[in-house]
């Protein structure tokens, strides 16, 4: 089923205990996530070079998540955020192809946006708290 895909079947799974494996369950009411894998570069340009040159460092693993506040599900997410632990995250671009994913330990932070003219939404950031991998 290779091809370009829509994001409506994305998914974030989480195990608050931080255990790699199958214990991670879907986080409800999420509507977006991002993964930033930008890589550090260091300028090593020398006299005589005809253009700037760089050497590459490690890729980052961090990103954002967002969704809708739901009193049935969101408090559990914020308990993890406020708990300060390192949950195990699995980020899946399309659950129709669930073997294509990114996973690892993370630190989470979050916020809630409440407006008199709109739905209550939640958002947050995550950063890698261990070595992340992309599968397959």
């Amino acid at each position: 089923m290779a091809g370009r895909i829509h994001g409506k079947k994305g998914q974030i799974k989480m195990d608050p205990a931080g255990a790699p494996g199958t214990a991670a369950t879907a986080v409800a009411d999420i509507n977006a996530f991002t993964i930033d894998m930008s890589t550090d570069t260091v300028d090593v340009t020398a006299l005589g070079d005809t253009n700037k040159q760089y050497v590459q460092g490690l890729p980052d693993y961090k990103g954002t998540l967002s969704g809708w506040w739901n009193s049935a599900t969101s408090p559990a997410l914020f308990e993890v955020i406020l708990g300060g632990g390192k949950p195990w995250l699995v980020l899946i671009p399309d659950t129709s192809e669930p073997t294509f994913l990114f996973k690892g330990l993370a630190y989470l932070s979050g916020s809630i946006d409440v407006s008199a003219t709109g739905a209550v939404s939640i958002s947050g950031d995550w950063v890698g708290a261990g070595n992340w991998v992309m599968e397959p």
Binding site: K8, K9, G10, Q11, I12, A26, A28, D29, I30, N31, G67, W68, N70, T95, A119
Partner: protein, 139 residues
């Protein structure tokens, strides 16, 4: 299977029909989009716009704006002011229970007050009064 969105329309209509003062002011009834022929004092509910905010787990909510107004023929001396008050009382910030849905908010975003001159007989006047109501309901 997603819930039946038409149940939201129906809940609004039923809430208005349940208001006995409103139906006394507008005895020709509460209708979606158009009233029966020869109606002279009635309430119209029309869906103006609607969007479905999404989540990864499907449709997260439905966000709709309805035009809800009393319509009265001038010659029948309709109580337009009273009707508009009753529409607002019946709907604004009121809990509406809709099968298949969870929490809901409904509030007026702006009000409507116009006089329509009949295209053919310009001695005939129709009064319109009510408002645009936003309904946000989670699935």
């Amino acid at each position: 299977m997603p819930p039946d969105s038409s149940a939201i329309d129906e809940a609004i209509v039923q809430a208005l029909r349940a208001d006995t003062l409103l139906t006394s002011y507008m005895p020709d009834g509460v209708w979606v989009d158009e009233a029966p022929a020869n109606s002279k004092r009635f309430v119209i509910v029309s869906l103006v716009e609607e969007v479905d905010p999404q989540g990864f787990d499907g449709r997260a909510m439905e966000d709709a704006v309805y035009l809800i107004k009393a319509v009265g023929l001038k010659s029948t001396n309709p109580n337009m002011r009273g009707a508009a008050v009753r529409i607002d009382t019946a709907l604004n910030d009121q809990p509406l229970s809709v099968s298949g849905y969870q929490s809901m908010v409904i509030f007026r975003e702006n009000r409507i007050r116009t006089t329509e001159i009949d295209d053919i007989d310009n001695t005939i006047r129709w009064y319109h009064r009510g408002g645009r109501y936003r309904v946000v309901i989670s699935t």
